[in-house]
């Protein structure tokens, strides 16, 4: 009998896992003992970090996108369709357009996170974001017209994709306005929901003085309850009001209804063992990447490292061995701290990060990684 591994979602998590499995289980797949199926609802693979650069005119959404099929190993069966139901009792997933169900022996959920600006009243109408291609493009237009006024970068939703992207946006915006000779006419404010500039303490300690130095006002314990798009005001849960001329918000994020409906996590994120990535709500189900409720960040690097560990585990299981590989929470994030310098943080479940002194070299490393990402997706790096 062929052992069937079905992966839902071909983002960073799903594609790295599928390609690693194809590599590790090549013999078993060739012999027909194992089948790896990767289901994605579009024909494209998206490298989301590119969107950070779109508002500043440095990249386009097209730069973030490549056809999926050539990135996927031939040993993997790629299915372009949307999964609309996960039945953990009968061990099958339903595909929308084929109107059929696919059985699995092992199921990996890797559907990522969805942005839901509409959850905060007025935000979709009054705010901009760079968390999607359309949002980033619209923001580019706004920024190109923005010569004076108050730009507010507000983290509305936590957790969100990429823990440092809001800080990066504020720091790049500062440098960008300076480069354009507009900084004296632009007031910059960054808001964060808890009592410091970032959830990760070491990052907050690093960012606080830097924001000060760059003349970026930091507002903490700031939780937008609603936005008034006509008067251009953010009203917070804490009873504060903040006027803006241009609002760049990190929208609230949501997991997936598939997860809620399958009883795998009430809030849409899959409740998993953080080391084995096994879902707590059902047997033979795993979650990877942003859709997993892990005590680390929703970052592509976390997805990448976790996919490596899960590939080892699933390959062992498929070979009838006891799995021993575990994910230790390893995450590495570059942080752009201007238009030509960056730093990075590396951490895991036990180790806290220590941001390095920003440098041009690290900035070029990030740009280099953005190119070589396509090798990561193919499972080469």
């Amino acid at each position: 009998m062929t052992e069937r591994i079905v992966i839902v979602g071909a983002g960073t998590a799903g594609i790295v896992l599928a390609n690693n499995l194809a590599d590790e289980l090549a013999d078993e797949i060739d012999a027909g003992d194992v089948a790896v199926e990767l289901v994605n609802d579009t024909e494209e693979h998206v490298y989301k970090p590119t969107w950070l650069y779109v508002p500043f005119g440095e990249k386009t959404p097209a730069d973030a996108t490549r056809p999926l099929a050539p990135l996927v190993d031939d040993r993997v069966t790629l299915v372009i369709d949307r999964v609309d139901d996960v039945d953990t009792e009968s061990k099958a997933v339903s595909l929308v357009s084929r109107a059929e169900t696919r059985p699995y022996d092992h199921l990996v959920l890797a559907m990522g996170a969805q942005v839901t600006p509409e959850e905060t009243p007025g935000l979709a109408e009054g705010g901009h974001h760079f968390y999607g291609p359309a949002g980033a493009t619209a923001l580019r237009e706004e920024l190109s017209d923005f010569t004076e006024g108050h730009l507010v970068v507000s983290v509305v939703g936590v957790p969100h994709m990429c823990p440092v992207a809001p800080l990066e946006f504020a720091l790049i915006a500062d440098a960008w306005f300076r480069d354009h000779g507009l900084r004296d006419d632009v007031e910059l404010t960054y808001t964060y929901p808890i009592g410091r500039a970032h959830g990760i303490e070491a990052v907050a300690e690093w960012a606080g003085p830097l924001m000060d130095e760059r003349d970026i006002t930091v507002e903490t314990f700031f939780n937008a309850e609603r936005v008034d798009p006509d008067d251009e005001v953010i009203h917070t849960v804490e009873g504060r009001d903040l006027d803006y001329d241009l609002l760049v918000a990190i929208p609230p994020h949501d997991g997936s209804d598939l997860v809620r409906d399958a009883g795998l996590g009430d809030d849409g994120w899959v409740d998993v063992d953080p080391n084995t990535l096994e879902a707590r709500g059902a047997d033979d189900v795993y979650a990877l990447g942003d859709v997993a409720d892990l005590p680390t960040s929703k970052a592509g690097s976390a997805a990448h490292y976790a996919a490596g560990a899960l590939a080892d585990r699933l390959a062992s299981v498929a070979r009838g061995e006891r799995p021993t590989a575990e994910y230790d929470g390893k995450t590495v994030c570059f942080i752009e701290s201007g238009t030509d310098e960056a730093t990075y943080i590396a951490f895991d479940y036990d180790e806290s990060p220590v941001p390095k002194e920003p440098s041009k070299l690290i900035h070029w490393s990030k740009l280099g990684y953005n190119q070589s990402y396509w090798l990561t997706a193919r499972g080469v790096l």
Partner: protein, 80 residues
Amino acid sequence: MSETDVRADVTVDAVGSSCPGPLMDLIGKMKSVDSGTVVELLSSNEGTEDDLVEWTEQSGYEYLGAVDRDDHQAFYVRKS
């Protein structure tokens, strides 16, 4: 305080979440409940109490206290 001193209307279970997860889960819930609602936050994270006390001071919501349970604490907050 003890378990019998307060009755929660709503519970937010953030046991196992790391910072700022528990506080964020609480704030998220606070946005959707009516004034006067008592929300119970379950957390096993060490920093939650300090964060919560500071946040209630800033927001004007009422911090009612905490109860120790086996592997976590229960915190109680009333929406003003």
